[in-house]
């Protein structure tokens, strides 16, 4: 099958790539654009490790085709920090020691950022249910929730 040419925006930069029409967005990001922040935990949409934003919508990039990115904007964990300055969610995840092996962390950050954009003051239950699609095998989730609450509070204060 011949490759297709795709033009898209990734973390604010315009990007072009060629990909197999059957190739997932996750594989394109990782293998063609060397953005390995999004991880493959399952490849079937069940773990959230591959979470990215596609035109402002939270998606599992393992369930999206690379070709679907044509003309769209993609945001990944690599674009979260502003240069050297970490996003408050990133900072709070570190401060709360809310990661262990770290494979789930990029997906959780992208998902949490999407939540706070919709709802700057989520209740604990809202966080828990929003993140129910992001598996973490290491932490038991407690510190992750606290870090997100803390970041949300800081972001509300700053706004």
């Amino acid at each position: 099958m011949s490759n297709i040419h795709v033009t898209t925006t990734v973390n604010g930069d315009s990007v072009e790539f060629l990909c197999d029409p059957r190739e997932t967005l996750l594989d394109v990001l990782r293998d063609r654009l060397t953005l390995t922040g999004a991880k493959e935990g399952c490849g079937t949409g069940d773990c959230g490790a591959c979470s990215v934003m596609l035109d402002g919508r939270l998606v599992s990039s393992c369930l999206v085709l690379g070709a679907e990115a044509e003309g769209k904007t993609i945001e990944t964990v690599e674009g979260m920090a502003n240069g050297e300055e970490l996003h408050p969610l990133q900072r709070k995840i570190i401060e709360h020691a809310a990661l262990q092996c770290g494979v789930c962390t990029p997906g959780i950050l992208v998902a949490a950022k999407a939540l706070l954009e919709k709802n700057p003051d989520p209740s604990e239950s809202e966080i828990r249910f929003w993140l129910a699609g992001n598996l973490c095998r290491c932490t038991g989730y407690d510190k992750i929730i606290r870090a997100i609450q803390d970041a949300a509070a800081e972001m509300r204060g700053a706004a």
Partner: protein, 763 residues
Amino acid sequence: MSVKAPLPHDTAGLHVAGSARYIDDIPVPANCLHLAFGLSNEARGVITGADLSAVRAAPGVITVLKATDLPHENDVSAAAHDEPLLAQGEVFYHGQPIFLVVATSHLAARKAARLANITISKRPAIITIDEALSANSRFEGEALVWNNGDAETALNTAPRNVEGSIEIGGQEHFYLESQAALAQPQENGDMLINSSTQHPTEIQHKVAEALGKPMHSVRVESRRMGGGFGGKESQGNALAVACAVAASQTGQPCKMRYDRDDDMVITGKRHDFRINYRAGFTKDGKILGVEFVHYARCGWAADLSLPVADRAMLHADNAYYVPAMRIESHRLKTNTTSATAYRGFGGPQGMLGMERVMDHIAHELKLDPAELRQRNFYASQKDTGPKQRTHYNQKVTDFELHEMLERLTDTAQYAARKKAVSDWNANNDILKKGLAFSPLKFGISFTLSHLNQAGALVHIYQDGSVHLNHGGTEMGQGLNQKIAQVAASEFGLPMERIRITATDTAKVPNTSATAASSGSDLNGMAVKNACNKLKKRIIRILSNHWETTQSDVIFTDGMVQIGHHSMSFDAAARLAYESRVSLSATGFYRTPKLSWDRLKGRGRPFYYFAYGAAITEVVIDTLTGENRILRTDILHDAGTSLNPALDIGQVEGAYVQGAGWLTMEELVWDTSGRLQTHAPSTYKIPTCADRPDVFNVALWPGENRENTIYRSKAVGEPPFMLGISAFLALSDAIAACGEIYPALDAPATPERILKAVNRVRLG
């Protein structure tokens, strides 16, 4: 001082930026090839034909290897030489690798692997514990039996008895990063392996065997794993060996990562157990004797099953003094994946057997289960009488649980909540609540005593910055941070002056697996040993320099002080360098005081014990079996914690994983031996929504009585077993539905809970 500081993971900054590299993130040369296994779709049989022409013809395929194409050893077992990389003539489980596809992409390799035409003449497969027993299919020839005292007489003469049986399911590790390895050929036929492994030395050993080379021709590097939990102690061997063989044949780098489905089908899991028990006790609930029969389903190959089953026996007492005990342990060989190491290494299963006994007795005597447990605890370390011994004759000298129980029942308001739960249950027919306490005592050390050793390599550069390596591997537990804290404290340096790089067999040789919770105990001491050698050298230099005697030396705040002289550490390093003194040292440590005879079941297998206690409250819906954890309170003993933030993280994560094992994580093999739950769509690990609503975790402010690294205690595995309290709480809620004992099996899925509720309701 850096030790005891609650610092986050050392590479947390990389993780939040998405730039921490796992195997699959390492940039590889453009000619890198990708591997996939072709798997058996029968659980047992003889391979009568293997037509791989379609595989070879598939797009992107470079070569396909069968067992007969392997140049040297065809073995990836941990020790027993019973696990071929590729099946040779016969297959022993559904999912066993039969051939290896080498292709230009991961997807091309996987797709091609499905095109084979393999014919297998089926043989009767042994899947269940009962099938294995009736076929007498086992490892070690016969059951291992340990006797301490005369359990039979104790049982026959005891005023009261209970007996029963519990089924305990296995568990998939579900490390979020699946198994992966990368092999890159070097000059002179040498091989560089990057592996997601807890045991780089074993990878080195197996790759060397497979290539027919001495170990010095193979270098293994492990920077980090995306979770291990025991699943990467031996299960990474196959990938690393496959990559090495393919790389040596093609001369190109080769990478292999299991897709999640393949990972779940191919790799080993926690052993499922059946435990039969009979216990005799007084009418106040004092245990007089217990008999256990352990049936462990080990799968098709020995792997680590024998030490796992041993450790289950070693934890059959959990925290209780049992005057007479008999344990019979059957290690059953079945046509399922080879069960392997998993956090706790058999300890959780053995412990659950004893907690079931306690729970059953409490129900029988209508005694408060926490009270009953305390009556049977080993004597407190403060007790001045002669020390009690375990059923394997080790003295229990550091017992902390009396005090921990008192503290925890107080902070968790156990008595008041127990009352509130029973009031609730009296007034509610549909939703029933349960509350349960469980303690744990976990033995720390490898039971194969020679594994209790570690090495380290520490360099001080002439600018005073420190670089070190040790034999432990980083799987998310924060080992490198703890070890860096040790070095920073020893040298009195800020953390940023210490750098730890990937675990590397070329830096520290002959390492043990990072397992048995031993990572910081062993490697911390080895690093301290190396730091001490270097400090001595620096002290000698400075003493000469200032012409002073060597007492009163302090390394602190980046300075070295001797008496009233002082100099920056950096300047001291420079001076040592200019004085032609070596600033590089190796360190070594071996755990003292161990002696163990596993066949007799006598000795001191453990250097010390770690303790913990949990109280969990749950609610169940008696119409559907659905359930939730409402609140969990934990008090855990990490000795003098090297890093409370990391240790509490271990406790929280371990508890949730332990509760997952006993509640929602269900492995289902069908009668033909096919694993039905081989993806997260069907195998459910706890999610964010399953974590307890209220989750209070505290560390017990104790210190290790043994001379461990800064008097800390190992923390990787022990808190896993606190999850038992969730299981007991579910049983408590079910018990509220009637009179009889629920005799709940694990995992307590909604289906099992519903069945148990109905059983109890019918009486």
